[in-house]
């Protein structure tokens, strides 16, 4: 049990390097506070395609090729791609990567997919099964609304607790080889358990996911013996305004004060005062874009030395919510360190 610290956390024997990231964002994201950090912003939500699903597929394809060109790793040296998205049977990833000619592991962690794929990628590398692993995820406001809520044509009113699915695709290249003084490192992985506290409202996913975030955070601190102070930033995926407050409150009850250290990607990607996104951003691309575009830069510049990155996911399906089921949720945490000097 060398690498296992405890029930949910592993400490990697040698750090896994994040040598490059790529990000493609939609137009609303491009109007947000992170606009200058994205590799590219697409103005047309159809991205020149005939359907939202095809547009999202194209974003995955482009993010992947952008990642390859930015990382400089030849395709023949990529051992695995770990990818997933929100659409039925992971449409965007599977169709977007069908010409990649690289072994692919498809994963579904809802909006926590970036955390799940990076966790698996890091373990593959640390286990000695791979030298380079690409992790990709995507989401699209229009395709997600269509699948999980209502057709856009219906023009349904959104509830105040509703979150806005982020349009975009993010990709990360993990590698065994890197420079500890210049590259970002994954050091610990805490894998989440499925938590279901009985929330049924698919328009209030922040509240549904917050208990999963609390569970994984507490497990991480318990397993590693670290305190919230260890981190410069603790970053959840897409709890939004509602879920973030619940998470802070419940963490305090667990004996960990994370206030001041804690933020949520859903509140970073949009400006809630200026952009009509209600409780904040959500979707696989929410945490993926904030990490790939913004956090990666802050880590690279040494402005953040220790980051706990924890994408969160609501594991509902359109059928389960129509049948009145509750929303099971999950959160995966990665401890990411930077020795870069600012």
């Amino acid at each position: 049990m060398g690498k296992r610290l405890s029930s949910q956390t592993i400490k990697l024997d040698s750090p896994v390097y994040i040598i490059s990231t790529a990000s493609i964002a939609g137009s609303k994201e491009g109007e947000g506070p992170l606009s200058s950090f994205f590799d590219s912003v697409i103005q047309d939500p159809l991205f020149g395609e005939k359907s939202w699903e095809k547009a999202e597929t194209k974003m995955v394809r482009e993010a992947y090729s952008k990642l390859i060109s930015k990382s400089g790793i030849p395709v023949s040296n990529i051992n695995y791609i770990v990818a997933g998205d929100l659409l039925n049977q992971c449409t965007a990833s599977n169709f977007g990567l069908k010409d990649s000619d690289v072994p692919v592991l498809g994963v579904y962690g809802a909006c926590s997919t970036m955390g799940e794929s990076m966790s698996i990628g890091a373990m593959l590398i640390d286990g000695g099964f791979a030298e380079n692993v690409a992790c990709i995820t995507s989401s699209h406001f229009c395709s997600a609304e269509k699948q999980f809520r209502y057709p856009l044509e219906l023009g349904t009113q959104r509830t105040p607790n509703a979150q806005w699915t982020v349009t975009g695709a993010g990709a990360v290249m993990l590698s065994k080889a890197g420079d500890p003084t210049k590259d970002i490192m994954i050091t610990h992985v805490t894998t989440g358990k499925i938590i279901d506290k009985g929330i049924k409202d698919a328009n209030n996913m922040g509240a549904a996911m917050a208990p999963a975030a609390v569970d994984t955070l507490s497990a991480h601190f318990r397993d590693t013996g670290r305190q919230p102070d260890f981190y410069d930033l603790i970053l959840s995926g897409d709890l939004g305004y509602v879920g973030k407050n619940i998470c802070e409150e419940f963490m305090e009850k667990e004996g960990f004060d994370i206030k001041g250290k804690y933020n949520d990607c859903g509140l970073i990607i949009f400006d809630r005062d200026k952009q009509d996104v209600h409780a904040g951003g959500s979707g696989c691309a929410c945490s993926a874009l904030v990490f790939c575009a913004y956090m990666y830069k802050l880590l690279k510049e040494g402005q953040i030395k220790n980051l706990l990155f924890m994408p969160t996911g609501a594991l509902l399906s359109p059928t389960s919510s129509q049948q009145g089921e509750t929303i099971p949720s999950i959160a995966h945490a990665l401890s990411i360190a930077s020795n870069c000097i600012s």
């Binding site: 939609g26 609303k28 939500p45 159809l46 406001f141 229009c142 209502y150 057709p151 856009l152 044509e153 219906l154 023009g155 349904t156 009113q157 509830t159 105040p160 349009t167 049924k200 409202d201 328009n203 009509d276």
Partner: protein, 122 residues
């Protein structure tokens, strides 16, 4: 000024009906689809009980255009057909009375889908 009153009354009546629906969206867990069905059913029941007619007399289009107005047309059609043809009217009256609206919705819906492409909201 006198000619403006029907418009003001329609605005107030329709506004109240829609404001109630907005409160239901914001304050309850009801989905918009359920509120829609609830409004049509409510309109039918209130018309059957003879209450909604007063709302229509006061508010005009403000009461007949929202979804409750569709329930009003359904119920009125049924009452009329039952008077004319007896029990069978309960099955035929509603659709007969609303056929114009339904056909127009399908036709213009189709037309709109041919001409326009859906877009992401604001």
């Amino acid at each position: 000024m006198q000619q403006l009153f029907p418009y003001v009354r329609a605005f107030i009546t329709g506004g109240i009906i829609c404001a109630i629906a907005q409160i239901l969206i914001d304050r309850t867990k009801l989905t918009s689809a359920r509120i829609l069905v609830f409004y049509v059913t409510l309109g039918t029941i209130l018309t059957g009980l003879g209450i909604y007619q007063y709302v229509v007399d006061y508010g005009g289009a403000g009461a007949t255009v929202p979804l409750t107005g569709f329930g009003y047309s359904l119920a009125k059609g049924v009452i009329k057909e039952v008077d004319k043809h007896g029990f069978l009217g309960a099955f035929t009256g509603g659709i007969k009375a609303t056929s114009g609206g339904i056909s127009a919705a399908i036709f213009f819906g189709y037309l709109a889908s041919v001409i326009f492409k859906p877009k992401a909201k604001g």
